[in-house]
């Protein structure tokens, strides 16, 4: 009991390390967030050093260059009892006799890029729309938000397929379509933050001091909305990786021979019963990535939302 009373007597300023320091401390206190962070650092290192980790270039056809290699062969690891006369392939080969391990490793690059670029784009556009809608109010607000409603009503994947079909099938267009589908989420968050801050005294004070609308928007309103955006963004990256992989799986996203996990699964899903490793390993990589971002996102939410601090 006395410990509780003492803790209350400590001057909060003396223990505070500033907003970012406190945040980091809060995040690192969560077991889930640490696990997520470790997974993501592991993936980031894999992506950066993909060329060093991978045994072969991702698109190299091994037939002819590696002795004894076969099409769609299961993993062969010598320490685990695979005969020495067969080439060592950690995750086997795919239907084009490429090394699945090298492709999965290089896929980390593609997927991390997909996640960050897609969500980054959606946040920038969504934030702008939300800022304008919340700040302008009236008709502008109504029209913009009804437009967002329309986008939200569409099943996301179907709208994305339509957009990709209109723009042409490529990884970049798949990302763009997933970003467009995600824009309303960020627009709504931003608008809600703007509305809650707009009428507060400190904004009125800045206005009275003659600050321009743009200044108020970006210096007073925006910083107050960053927290929910960061949380939604981190959780959104996992979703974006999933959605782009789904598009690629269906053939609308990454085109062969790009080493992208979704398209790797899609191209070889027909061999599920004869060569399950072709689905299993890229699938595992996808799950791990999304899992990492979701854990970190949950941790960030718990750390950044002061209402949840107990």
């Amino acid at each position: 009991m006395s410990a509780v009373i003492e803790a209350e007597l400590v001057d909060p300023r003396s223990t505070s390390k500033g907003i970012w320091g406190d945040t980091l401390g809060n995040v690192l206190r969560q077991r889930n967030a640490i696990v997520g962070l470790v997974i993501l650092i592991f993936l980031l290192l894999t992506a950066v050093f993909a060329d060093q980790i991978a045994a072969y270039p991702p698109n190299q056809v091994l037939l002819g260059s590696v002795a004894g290699v076969k099409k769609s062969s299961p993993p062969c690891i010598h320490v685990l009892g695979c005969p020495d006369d067969r080439p060592q392939l950690l995750m086997g080969t795919d239907s084009n006799v490429r090394d699945v391990f090298s492709r999965v490793v290089h896929g980390a690059r593609v997927s991390l890029f997909i996640g960050f670029a897609t969500v980054g784009f959606a946040i920038v556009i969504g934030t702008l729309i939300g800022l304008v809608a919340g700040f302008a109010g009236g008709w502008t607000d109504n029209i913009l938000m009804r437009l967002m409603d329309v986008v939200l009503v569409f099943p996301a994947l179907l709208l994305a397929i339509a957009i990709v079909t209109a723009l042409g099938q490529s990884l970049l267009n798949a990302q763009l379509s997933i970003a467009i589908v995600a824009i309303p989420i960020y627009a709504r968050i931003m608008r809600a933050s703007v509305l809650s801050v707009k009428e507060s005294d400190f904004v009125t004070a800045s206005r009275a001091l003659g600050e321009s609308p743009a200044g108020i928007l970006f210096r007073r309103v925006f910083p107050n909305a960053v927290t929910p955006l960061i949380v939604a963004g981190t959780l959104g990256i996992g979703g974006a990786v999933l959605d782009v992989a789904a598009l690629s799986f269906l053939g609308y996203g990454a085109q062969p021979p790009t080493a992208e996990w979704g398209s790797m699964i899609g191209l070889d899903s027909g061999k599920l019963f004869t060569a399950p490793h072709l689905v299993f390993f890229p699938g595992l990589a996808l799950v791990l990535t999304v899992f990492g971002f979701n854990l970190l996102g949950d941790g960030l939410r718990d750390a950044l939302d002061p209402r949840l601090n107990r």
Partner: protein, 358 residues
């Protein structure tokens, strides 16, 4: 209440109109024509001109839109440019597949999800709780297509020959056929909306088999439904389990729950009568939201398990530039989505007497 519902229905109008406009004009910026998609790239310009003229595709876009709206006001969704079937008939064939799948997925998600969530909250920080929440975290991270393929691998290949084996594709085993309700009820010659409704229900195989007592077919249909339902329902399940747990924990911390405990109720009765009913409010919202978003996941599930439902129909229609089909299907999906949202909001007033809908 009634005023609220009417106002909400009126507000749905502009959103639906917006969707129509968006789909219509999105349809016309798609590169490639319905003619070339259907007749091949080598179709001559004259052939395509005739094709377009026959279907009114040579008219200016606003005129086409006007024609479409006029037909729509008479309940006519148009004719598929690909199969020459009416879009309404296509919907009667395809929509029941997806509805059956979505309902099965949601039943799976809600029963298991709520159960796991309640157990986790009841025994918080126990090994069951930790495992459930870890499982929920993984559950939301598994792509539908990966889970679907893994399920197919395990249940159709690894467990082949055991009683747990399940079919990985289609709705019925080849050779098994289901008698349409129209036939069982002697309505083969009926026409119009009543017939459409009968056919619609008839295409929900499980419901049809249940109504008409085709028990062997019912078992077969359910066996085919299990894997797709698990694949589609796992993400909602994980989300529902998490929401149920956190919502129940919140409620169990409230004063009236302490009162209930103080008057000597067993913990089990506290959870059952005081905690659980009030913890279900946020769960209802999530169930509604997830049900709406199941249509997106249905594209993947239907592709993997070879079901010809709405999701695949739209994806295929986009591929063949079959605008009437795209429009009709998206419109119906949007109406269902908006309707579910309305039902969720209204159900709030029934579940929580404090909520006044205005």
């Amino acid at each position: 209440m009634l005023r609220y519902i009417v106002r909400r229905l009126i507000l749905t109008g502009p959103v639906l109109f917006g969707i129509l406009v968006l789909v219509f004009f999105l349809g016309h910026v798609l590169p490639g024509s319905a003619c070339r998609a259907l007749l091949g790239e080598r179709a001559t310009d004259a052939v395509c001109a005739a094709f377009d003229h026959e279907r009114g595709l040579d008219q200016p876009i606003p005129v086409q839109f006007g024609t479409y709206l006029t037909a729509l006001s008479h309940g006519d969704l148009g004719t598929s440019t690909k199969s020459s079937q009416s879009v309404g008939d296509l919907l009667i064939q395809r929509l029941p597949v997806t509805i059956e799948l979505a309902v099965a997925a949601m039943l799976f998600a809600v029963t298991i999800g709520v159960l796991l969530g309640v157990i986790s909250a009841y025994k918080r920080n126990s090994i069951i709780d930790v495992l459930t929440m870890a499982g929920a975290n993984i559950g939301v991270s598994i792509p539908i297509f990966v889970l679907g393929l893994l399920l197919a691998f395990v249940f159709a290949l690894l467990l082949k020959g055991t009683p747990f084996a399940l079919p990985p594709s289609g709705r019925l085993t080849p050779g098994v056929s289901i008698v349409p309700l129209a036939t069982s009820w002697g309505l083969q010659n009926a026409l119009g909306p009543p017939r459409a409704i009968v056919d619609f229900v008839s295409n929900i195989y499980t419901l049809n088999a249940l109504i008409s007592g085709q028990w062997a077919v019912l078992v077969d249909a359910i066996r085919h439904l299990i894997l797709p339902a698990i694949a589609l329902g796992t993400i909602p399940l994980a989300i529902i389990a998490r929401i149920t747990r956190s919502s129940l924990l919140d409620v169990l911390g409230l004063d009236y729950v302490r009162t209930a405990r103080a008057k000597g109720l067993t913990e089990r009765n506290v959870v059952r009568h005081h905690g659980f009913p009030n913890a279900m409010l946020p769960v209802t919202t999530i169930v509604g939201l997830q049900l709406g978003s199941l249509f997106g996941g249905a594209v993947l599930t239907e592709t993997i398990f070879n079901l010809s439902g709405v999701g695949r129909a739209v994806a295929e229609a986009i591929g063949s530039r079959d605008f009437p089909t795209i429009q009709g299907f998206v419109l119906v999906i949007a109406i269902i989505y908006l309707f579910i949202n309305l039902v969720v909001d209204v159900s709030y007033a029934f579940l929580d007497p404090r909520v006044r809908l205005t």
